[in-house]
């Protein structure tokens, strides 16, 4: 029988940071300069946290405003999603007082007006509220509009690269 201990399976080529994909209602935290990505944000929001002191970075992809309004993983909702990411960042060695946030997404692509204010703008409001309650400043944001976005968080620098089909690429 062969034994696999991982030593013969090194896939990463030198100099190429590891890439981790974050799905909807998921989060990831890295301390080893990985690149965290998430794609296809419509009314969803991507919240990126970065602690330059400990070089810790994390990204969560939230879908709905408040956990009280539904069931499912904490990372699915704006309020508990931000909280779970803060906790996981701390567990990985980051300190809350040196954390910085960047946020993107929350667009209003579709207008079905009888539903009151859009989910995108409510998501954004709750993300801002929860970050403020935890004293984490928002250093950059690309929120709203009527187009989708994909994100790439470079944990080596804390840069959040926002790409959209119609607006090109921006770095926060």
């Amino acid at each position: 029988m062969k034994v696999y201990d991982g030593s013969q399976t090194e896939q990463e080529s030198v100099g190429q940071p590891e890439r981790k994909k974050v799905g909807i209602a998921e989060y990831a935290v890295t301390t080893d300069e990985a690149v965290l990505t998430t794609s296809g944000l419509g009314s969803c929001i991507g919240v990126a946290l970065y602690d330059p002191d400990s070089n810790t970075a994390g990204l969560v992809h939230v879908m709905l405003p408040r956990h009280d309004d539904g069931e499912g993983a904490r990372a699915k909702f704006a309020d508990t999603g931000v909280e779970v990411l803060l906790e996981e960042m701390e567990r990985a060695g980051a300190r809350r007082r040196s954390m910085e946030a960047k946020i993107a997404g929350g667009s209003d692509m579709l207008d079905f007006s009888e539903n009151g204010s859009s989910i995108g703008s409510r998501n954004a409001a709750i993300v801002r509220e929860t970050l403020a309650a935890n004293d984490v400043p928002i250093l950059g944001e690309d929120v709203g509009g009527d187009y989708g976005r994909s994100l790439r968080l470079e944990a080596a620098t804390g840069d959040l690269i926002v790409k959209s089909a119609s607006q090109g690429t921006a770095t926060l």
Binding site: E10, Q11, S43, L64, A165
Partner: protein, 403 residues
């Protein structure tokens, strides 16, 4: 057989965890970084199983399993992944038998994880056969779907796994025998819960098929291009998996909200090439300018409207109710970002969603279109409860009524 929402949710979760387990085994063995993208349960015609694999070459590892659940399961790799997989196991690479045995070995470990996950949850044993290696094109890589008397439709559990950074995909298909699945689902159903008889879900599928045929006829009438309705299926997945059904490519199309019982959202999507081709078929003159012009978009909006009407009328006829819809809103964006706000709307009231999907194609020009509907789950159940099964044949929407 009846299924309730609870047991559909549980079984979906099982399939998802099994796929996660299998993916972790793969990562441990090879260092391959892969993530489970989507897991869903689909009810569809047995002839349509694996339609989405058409035209691609695959290798697979197939197992029979029996016990609390009987059937076949297969792990499917895109052929291009065989090289990297072999390389991961045998540095320096290998070909022929060596490559085959690498795939078998990985398949064996992954699928043991998958099946053990189910058995653990069910608190019982499921035995599986040794792996059988398969090479085939398209749906031929899958075992024949089980046959059941008087039941042309089958349940398929399907997970899509993405190899991060390699743009390669793996798939796990599980095709359970109807009887053992029915028994298990009944055992896991909540007494007096939200049960839906399977025959009604099947009828609903048939009516969606006729809605799609109607939509295809409308396209043909407007464009003069012979258009065929293809696969129609109804799936069930957690709400956060719904946007992933469409993926990261850019699409053009229309979105409407429909009201009535059920209410919900309906999307007509074209890939950019299809959108351009079909729009030009509608234009009296050559477009002004390159790419997707405003003329193209106006044509797509009109087409989306006609397709939506055809589709929704197919439902309304069977349900003998009126289903109205808002004027179409044009969308042109990353597929997943288009679906995301709709899934979020539906997700405010429910944790899982039914997804109705159908496709149409033409042979004449490169053109394909997808229709996705997200109905409110409670209202869909109510509509099905009121549905008389023998009404399914009354779906011939009258073209004259639409125009």
């Amino acid at each position: 057989m009846k299924v309730d929402i609870q047991s559909l949710g549980t079984f979906n979760q099982l399939a998802h965890e099994g796929a996660e387990q299998a993916t972790q085994s793969l990562a441990q063995m090879t260092g391959i970084d892969a993530v489970v993208d989507v897991t869903k349960i689909t009810l569809l015609n047995r002839d349509d199983v694996g339609e989405e694999l058409a035209g691609q070459d695959f290798v697979g590892v197939q197992f029979d399993f029996e016990g609390a659940l009987d059937g076949d399961t297969v792990l499917v790799f895109e052929s291009d992944s065989v090289g990297p997989i072999t390389e991961a196991l045998v540095p320096g690479g290998a070909d022929g038998e060596m490559a085959q045995s690498s795939v078998e070995e990985i398949g064996n470990i992954m699928m043991s994880g998958f099946i053990d996950g189910w058995a653990d949850y069910l608190g019982t044993t499921i035995e599986h056969s040794p792996p059988e290696y398969i090479e085939a094109t398209g749906a031929d890589v899958l075992p024949p779907a089980p046959t059941v008397a008087d039941q042309p439709q089958v349940f398929v559990f399907k997970s899509q796994i993405e190899w991060v950074g390699e743009s390669l995909n793996f798939y796990i298909y599980m095709l359970p025998e109807y009887d053992t699945l029915a028994e298990l689902m009944t055992d896991h159903a909540e007494p007096g819960g939200d049960a839906i008889p399977i025959d009604k879900l099947s009828v609903f599928n048939e009516m969606t098929t006729s809605g799609t045929e109607q939509a295809a006829e409308n396209v043909e009438m407007m464009t003069g291009i012979p258009t065929e309705a293809e696969v129609t299926q109804i799936s069930f997945a957690p709400i956060e998996d719904v946007p992933k059904q469409v993926g990261d490519d850019t699409y053009v199309g229309t979105v409407v909200e429909f009201t009535g019982v059920p209410s919900g959202y309906l999307l007509v999507l074209f890939d950019e090439v299809s959108a351009q081709n079909v729009a030009e078929a509608l234009m009296p003159t050559e477009p002004d300018g390159e790419g997707l012009t405003e003329q193209h978009k106006a044509a797509i909006e009109e087409l989306g409207n006609i397709m939506t009407s055809g589709f929704v009328d197919g439902w309304a006829n069977v349900l003998q109710t009126s289903v109205d819809h808002t004027p179409p809103q044009l969308v042109h964006d990353i597929g997943q970002a288009i679906v995301d706000p709709l899934a979020a709307q539906v997700g405010q009231h429910q944790e899982h969603s039914f997804i109705i999907e159908s496709e149409m194609r033409t042979d004449e020009i490169e053109f394909s279109s997808e229709i996705h509907a997200l109905p409110d789950e409670k209202e869909l159940r109510q509509a099905l409860a009121e549905l008389e099964v023998d009404r399914a044949d009354q779906t011939d929407a009258d073209v004259e009524q639409i125009f």
